[in-house]
């Protein structure tokens, strides 16, 4: 990665508390390149109109821009068709749609949902609620000591009663990459479907629906250089066909009578109301931007940064690093001795270094790690080794301050 990429992110060119900003919280939300900011501006300055209804020129342009973004997403994740790409508010909404519509219609008492303790709350609570509503049972895969998931542990909990396996592709706390392709194949052998939370994988690596062969996949635009408020639910066409819409109203209908109505075809039956048009346009621009750099190059860059961060963090006495030492994704989670992560984050912020502190929406995983909270530094394509060095020196200062 070169400084030309960094130049594309205007927000990074500022000082925080008298120091150049080092933004290490991209796993929470990524920063936005000029290409995305300009795409939003251009849309609102020239093309803004409602989609799928206006006969006028702006209506056609807005529709083309919105549906064009859908095509970009379909290509980006290698879906078979745009019918499989539903625009949503983000991963949380996407997972809730699967859990409240698809899952509740197929689950009955005694059926099983297989999860891991590392799931983000958004891939946990929707299943808890679906289980409560249907009498289904939640089962958890045991994690390895380094926090990873192995196929053999999944084999121990999956049975022919399992109807759904839901798992993150990449953990937002430990940066582990789960073998979801192999687990999807295993789930299918047991007649279960595989739901993959792709919030942390989509920004950082190539994802291919044909290769993974999962049944549902979700992503959030704002974690991959796009705007907030836009996300995607990918579903295999046959499953989406079966699924009832979650929201009813304008946009999603075919024919409306006083007592009965019918729905539009895929994917629009899931997009009730005026959709997030500008958000989709921004996501399309983000995908173009990421692809112009190349997902392989982004992955390689993050791998390098993560390895460098792990080795530098290991030099700090008393620092506890969570998760495996070898990692592909640019994310490190740690605690600095007895210093509470909030205090770490505040002292780092005073040096212009932005990290996340807390439970990262993963309370069950925090219990598993036996930590009430952790500090997390997450990297993206715009971060550099110098950023890691700034993190390390700020951590050493923090240690001295609280020493």
């Amino acid at each position: 990665m070169n400084s030309a990429i960094r130049e594309q992110f205007p927000i990074l060119k500022q000082e925080i508390n008298g120091h150049p900003l080092v933004y290490l919280d991209s796993a929470a939300t990524s920063q936005k390149p000029l290409a995305v900011i300009e795409a939003l501006r251009h849309y609102y300055e020239y093309d803004n109109a409602n989609v799928h209804r206006g006969v006028h020129t702006l209506g056609s342009r807005a529709t083309d821009a919105y549906e064009g973004a859908r095509e970009k997403v379909a290509k980006f994740i290698h879906a078979k068709s745009t019918k499989e790409i539903v625009f949503t508010r983000g991963t949380t909404t996407s997972l809730n749609m699967v859990a409240s519509s698809y899952a509740r219609s197929i689950l009955s008492e005694g059926d099983e949902i297989v999860l891991t303790p590392m799931e983000h709350h958004s891939n946990l609570i929707p299943w808890q609620q679906a289980a409560k509503a249907t009498g289904a049972v939640l089962k958890y895969v045991k994690l390895q000591e380094d926090g990873s998931v192995t196929l053999s542990e999944v084999e121990k909990v999956i049975t022919d009663k399992t109807k759904i396996v839901a798992m993150a592709y990449v953990s937002n706390v430990m940066g582990v990459v789960n073998p979801v392709k192999e687990i999807a194949a295993l789930a299918h052998r047991h007649g279960a479907i595989m739901v993959v939370d792709g919030a942390q994988s989509s920004p950082h690596m190539k994802v291919d629906m044909q290769d993974l062969d999962c049944d549902f996949y979700t992503l959030s635009g704002h974690k991959m250089c796009g705007p907030t408020g836009i996300g995607v639910l990918y579903g295999k066409q046959a499953l989406l066909e079966e699924m009832e819409p979650v929201e009813f109203g304008g946009e999603m209908i075919d024919d409306v009578g006083l007592y009965e109505s019918t729905w539009k075809e895929l994917p629009w039956k899931f997009e009730g109301g005026t959709p997030i048009i500008a958000g989709a346009v921004g996501l399309g621009a983000a995908i173009d931007f990421l692809e112009s750099i190349g997902m392989d190059a982004i992955e390689a860059h993050e791998h390098e940064l993560a390895s460098y961060a792990v080795s530098r963090l290991s030099e700090i006495d008393g620092l506890k690093l969570y998760g495996p030492r070898e990692r592909k994704v640019g994310l490190v989670t740690f605690n600095l001795g007895d210093v509470h992560p909030h205090d770490v984050a505040t002292v780092l912020d005073a040096s212009g270094v932005a990290i996340r502190a807390g439970h990262h929406c993963c309370q069950p995983l925090m219990r598993w790690l036996e930590a009430s909270a952790t500090a997390r530094a997450s990297f993206y394509l715009y971060n550099t080794k110098e950023d890691v060095d700034r993190l390390i020196s700020a951590l050493i200062q923090t240690k001295e301050y609280f020493g």
Binding site: N17, H342, D343, T346, A350, A357, M366, S372, A373, F402
Partner: protein, 143 residues
């Protein structure tokens, strides 16, 4: 941003040498509060007799700000009437909003005045005080 405004010696002293940390053995009014956004937890116990806070203890997990604030709060409320304790809590809220309030009855608390310059940390400082308010409310509902 001056870190020393936030982490004064008084705060670090309460963090490293917490007062009233622990639990009463007998059944005493207990208030459990979490700060769900960051995972801080406090369990506050109050012994209230004849309208007076006779004693207070707490356990919990959290950062230096939340735990030192709990230590100071429990020190400050001991021996106070319920009304005086409520007044303390109100003054603490005002302190967090940047107002110039004083705690002549327990000056250590004034060390937390710097927190109002760190908006993200105000909720850490107020956790124990919210537990105090909740505890007093529950006690008053009993009667």
């Amino acid at each position: 941003m001056q870190l020393d405004d936030l982490y004064r010696r008084v705060i670090m002293d309460h963090y490293k040498n917490p007062r009233n940390r622990g639990k009463f053995e007998d059944g005493t009014l207990t208030v459990d509060l979490n700060n769900p956004t960051c995972g801080d937890k406090i369990s506050l116990q109050l012994k209230v007799d004849n309208g007076i806070v006779q004693d207070a203890k707490y356990t919990g997990e959290g950062c230096s700000i939340s735990m030192s604030s709990a230590s100071m709060m429990t020190e400050a409320v001991k021996g106070k009437t319920v009304e005086e304790a409520q007044d303390l809590a109100s003054r603490f809220s005002a302190l967090m909003q940047g107002e110039d309030v004083h705690f002549d009855d327990y000056e250590d608390i004034e060390a937390l005045s710097g927190v109002n310059k760190f908006p993200a940390r105000i909720k850490c400082a107020t956790l124990a005080w919210n537990a105090l308010r909740k505890g007093i409310d529950e006690k008053q509902h009993d009667h």
